[in-house]
């Protein structure tokens, strides 16, 4: 089934590999944004089926972006998966308040990312 995914990450290298990985392994359409602000704009415009959101970004970071997505009725229903290189206990509590669909660890394996996203969201592999 064709899906559309929005990936939001300020690091060009990671954004590009994630995009390739989802396009090539799962055949999904991928939209990429380099900042939280751009992510909000593209989410409203393209209505993706899910959003992969990096936690640590300059400016509006991942959790802040997730909150804004949640607050906008246009995007509130889109499941959000956080991507993070580290889970501190304090962060974990912060993530819990965001009602995100899941948290995936960085670095990710490009071969596995699409599977991880599918299984986090309960999509049939």
């Amino acid at each position: 089934m064709s899906r559309r995914i929005l990936i939001v990450d300020d690091e060009d290298d990671i954004r590009e590999v994630a995009q390739m990985s989802l396009e090539m392994v799962a055949g999904w359409e991928v939209i990429a944004a380099g900042s939280g602000e751009e992510g909000l704009r593209l989410a409203a415009r393209h209505r993706p089926d899910a959003i992969l959101l990096d936690v640590m970004m300059p400016g509006m970071d991942g959790p802040a972006t997730a909150l804004r997505l949640r607050a906008d009725p246009e995007t509130a229903g889109i499941p959000v998966i956080l991507l993070t290189a580290k889970v501190q206990p304090a962060d974990r509590r912060r993530f819990e308040g965001l009602a995100v669909a899941g948290v995936l660890a960085k670095p990710f394996d490009p071969m596995e990312l699409a599977n991880q996203v599918s299984s986090t969201l309960g999509w049939p592999g």
Partner: protein
């Protein structure tokens, strides 16, 4: 068709669209413009084959760009869906095709390829006979990731600069908050990214740096050296080709006679570790540690979740918390299931309780290991690595010799699925070579072969100590009592009658192999670390020396001994000491190749036999490992991380010793020298300390007024056994090196150009005047890219130059080269 590649301008879209097009349109150059102004400027500047323009481009909208008056290339315009009535004027403005958001990328690629006349890489479905979907995708993705790494290697590696800067600031006693946070952020980014490109170890190193810099605890000189070691290790890691897995590549055994064109085995996916623990946080931390070390990890917080996970994909190993439910019935049942169904999944049990009864129960249920909580994630993952390693080593191999290719094919077909690696040989005259190359755990021999019979082959094996204990199984069509008696008399272990039936051959061979392995596991490996023991290493090294002679290859032997190990045991207890030994053994196994031998000789002494390596190469590899060990302290629950170093001596066959005994003696004496010289270093045999005669002789003289940099360099040089001296003043260096009876002789001088008093150029000229340059090579250190200065230095007689800031490994490489000239 024009010869220049077609050029596509993508204006007003997120970067992803451009990179997608660049990948999909082969041979086209794709560039981007963020806003209308940039788009107009680009259009006016060059010849474009296609413009892809977003209708809502910032800075004036699409109309401004379309009306700008530049000769417009064919243009695709992308508009919001339902954005009002169709516009009639678009065609007049050069728009050849209109798309709507959300962009249909496949249609875009098709249309663009048609306009440009380029092949599109899109949709492999269009190519008949393409790869089977899954494998093709994985290969294509792996390629794409490799290409992406080529593009990002520079900027990503540059992040290490921030860590190095923090190390240097710290050495100078002035690490300010901003530098520290910047380095922490860069380390965080490295930790989160490089693993994705195939540098799991790099992610792990970066995470350690991040942890070290976190918080606001004051940092000292020890942390500075750790940071600098980690930066060096990171640079080295990122300079090597990425590997999708940290597991050592499978040894390419030269199969004696494998049919041509047999497809290589598909790359194995990373091993999956299932962590079953009600403590989600601990589980998550373990999972992260594991994913940083080349495994995939999955977490389940209860038995039901674990069963679902196992049903979906059988893990390579399971970590199971025994305290999951009060009665433990579900957990123990899961444990029993995992261990009883083939293929058996090794289960490591984590528990906060440590009663003897638990251990017995766990062992009875088939658990392979027992870890007592609280325990550091790194320790848990070490144990998992150990278990997986055992599984890998457990793969047994046989060499089957028969002149009938059908029989060989049958043997291979039957035994391979049973987990046995099969080497086949059709020409018995090549038996000896094949035997040495394959080093099989058992040999299958046909009795009747042209020129040489199986019985004769068996006899020569039995007469050679290396093969006298290897099981031999005969394949024979003759089962009369006389023949059977004869094969046993020649030393056969078993025979199988031809034509054989599958189950019989498999059972007989695997029985034999299991016994061999059990015997070997007990007799040949060091029980604490799992690496070879002394007896086994003697055997293996004798084989390597034999091969080295035959193939005219060098062979080097390293003896290494942990520094101050007794203190580790005294201060932290033997359990920690054992853990350190296991970890070092694991690092050694990871650092050396399958054709090398790694063994523990008891105590804290390890020996490594390196095939095809001279001792200088050996010193470099061992010093790399030392830096890695230094950079990765051992986490101790509730205590400061433990820093471990070792000393090593390396001797080369046959220049330092004509047989193994002599090599051992020389390596041992060299190890002693390394300890005497201050420990924490690797020395080659024949190394001489600076002689106290009239002229002091050193390998490297560092003339540098930057104290922090000089200290870093001396540390790296001493690790490699170079005799090094440091002077911070140009005049002092020139005075010491010149004159009729110079006080100091150096093979290589590292000379900073900017020195107080007498600068680098003046020093060089003084050395040239005095003919010092005839025996000393000078490497000039310049500040980034002052070309005139470099040219001047080379004209003045410098051997080489390196510009600052430089990476330590690169400088070391240049020093080695200067040393050899």
């Amino acid at each position: 068709m024009s010869s220049a590649p077609p050029r596509v301008l993508v204006a007003g879209f997120p970067d992803g669209v451009a990179s997608f097009l660049a990948r999909q349109l082969r041979g086209a150059t794709v560039e981007t413009a963020a806003d209308a102004g940039a788009a107009c400027a680009e259009l006016a500047r060059g010849e474009w084959s296609l413009l892809l323009l977003d209708g809502e481009i910032p800075g004036g909208g699409a109309d401004g760009v379309l009306r700008a008056g530049a000769p417009a290339p064919p243009t695709f315009l992308c508009l919001p869906r339902g954005g009002g009535a169709p516009r009639a004027d678009l065609q007049a403005l050069g728009v050849t095709r209109t798309f709507f958001h959300p962009l249909d990328r496949q249609a875009l690629v098709r249309e663009a390829a048609a306009v440009l006349g380029t092949p599109s890489a899109s949709r492999p479905a269009a190519e008949p006979g393409a790869h089977p979907a899954a494998e093709g995708k994985a290969d294509a993705l792996a390629d794409a990731v490799r290409q992406a790494w080529e593009r990002f290697r520079g900027p990503v590696t540059a992040r290490v600069d921030a860590i190095e800067a923090a190390a240097i600031a710290l050495l100078e006693g002035g690490l300010d908050e901003e530098t520290r946070r910047h380095a922490e952020r860069e380390a965080h980014k490295l930790a989160g990214s490089v693993g994705t490109f195939g540098f799991a170890q790099g992610s792990r190193l970066a995470r350690e740096v991040e942890t070290l810099l976190q918080g606001s605890a004051p940092l000292g000189q020890a942390e500075a050296l750790r940071l600098s070691d980690a930066a060096v290790a990171l640079r080295r890691e990122l300079a090597r080709p990425p590997s999708p897995s940290t597991a050592p590549p499978p040894r390419a055994r030269p199969a004696a006679e494998r049919p041509e064109g047999e497809p290589a085995a598909p790359p194995r996916p990373l091993p999956l570790l299932l962590v079953v623990d009600a403590d989600a946080e601990l589980a998550e931390r373990i999972a992260m540690e594991a994913s940083g070390r080349g495994m995939r990890a999955r977490v389940a917080v209860d038995v039901a979740g674990a069963r679902v996970a196992v049903a979906e994909e059988r893990p390579a190993a399971v970590l199971l918390d025994l305290a999951l439910d009060r009665e433990d019935t579900g957990t123990l049942a899961l444990l029993a299931d995992l261990s009883s169904h083939a293929p058996r999944v090794p289960v490591l049990v984590l528990t906060a309780r440590s009663s003897f009864a638990d251990r017995v129960e766990v062992a009875r249920m088939g658990g392979v290991g027992f870890l007592q909580k609280p325990v550091a994630p790194a320790t848990v993952v070490d144990a998992v690595e150990g278990v997986l390693q055992r599984g890998r080593q457990g793969r047994a191999s046989v060499l089957a010799v028969d002149d009938d290719p059908l029989i060989l094919h049958a043997v291979e077909t039957l035994l391979t699925p049973a987990g046995v690696e099969v080497h086949t040989l059709g020409d018995p005259l090549r038996f000896w070579e094949a035997l040495e190359e394959a080093c099989p755990d058992a040999v299958l021999l046909d009795i009747d072969m042209p020129r040489v019979s199986g019985i004769e082959l068996c006899r020569v094996m039995r007469n050679d100590t290396r093969w006298s204990a290897t099981p031999v199984i005969f394949l024979t069509a003759r089962t009369e009592a006389e023949t059977v008696q004869r094969v046993f008399a020649e030393g056969a272990d078993d025979y199988v009658a031809k034509p054989f039936v599958g189950p019989e051959l498999v059972t007989r061979v695997t029985n034999r192999l299991e016994r061999v392995q059990l015997h070997r596991a007990l007799a040949d490996s060091d029980p604490l670390t799992g690496v070879a023991n002394r007896r086994r290493s003697d055997e293996l090294m004798a084989q390597l020396v034999h091969l080295a002679v035959r193939n005219r290859q060098p062979f080097s032997l390293a003896l290494l001994d942990l520094d101050h190990f007794k203190q580790v045991n005294d201060r932290h207890g033997h359990a920690v000491g054992d853990e350190v030994l296991r970890r070092v053994a694991r690092l050694l196994e990871r650092a050396f190749r399958a054709e090398d031998v790694v063994a523990r000789w008891g105590g804290e002494e390890f020996v490594v036999g390196m095939y095809g390596m001279d001792k200088d190469d050996g010193v470099q590899r061992m010093a790399d490992l030392l830096e890695q060990v230094r950079a990765e302290p051992f986490d101790l629950p509730g205590a400061e991380p433990l820093r471990v170093t070792f000393s090593a001596g390396i001797a080369q066959f046959p220049v330092d010793g004509a047989d193994l005994q002599a090599l051992y003696r020389v390596a041992d004496a060299t190890l002693y020298q390394a300890k005497e010289a201050g420990r924490d270093r690797v020395l080659p045999a024949g190394w001489t300390a600076e002689r106290p005669d009239a002229a002091e002789q050193v390998d490297v003289l560092v003339v540098e007024d930057d104290h922090a940099l000089a200290r870093l360099l001396l540390h790296a040089l001493e690790t490699r056994g170079y005799g090094a001296r440091w002077m911070e003043d140009g005049r002092e260096a020139a005075d010491a090196l010149t004159g009729s009876r110079p006080r100091l002789r150096a093979r290589v001088v590292l000379l900073d150009v900017d020195l107080p008093g007498m600068d680098g150029h003046a020093v060089l000229r003084a050395l040239a005047r005095d003919r010092v340059l005839e025996r000393t090579n000078v490497i000039v250190l310049t500040v980034r890219a002052h070309e005139a200065e470099v040219v001047q230095a080379l004209e003045e007689g410098a051997f080489d130059h390196v510009s600052k800031p430089f990476s330590v490994p690169i400088l070391l490489q240049r020093i080695r080269r200067a040393m050899k000239m």
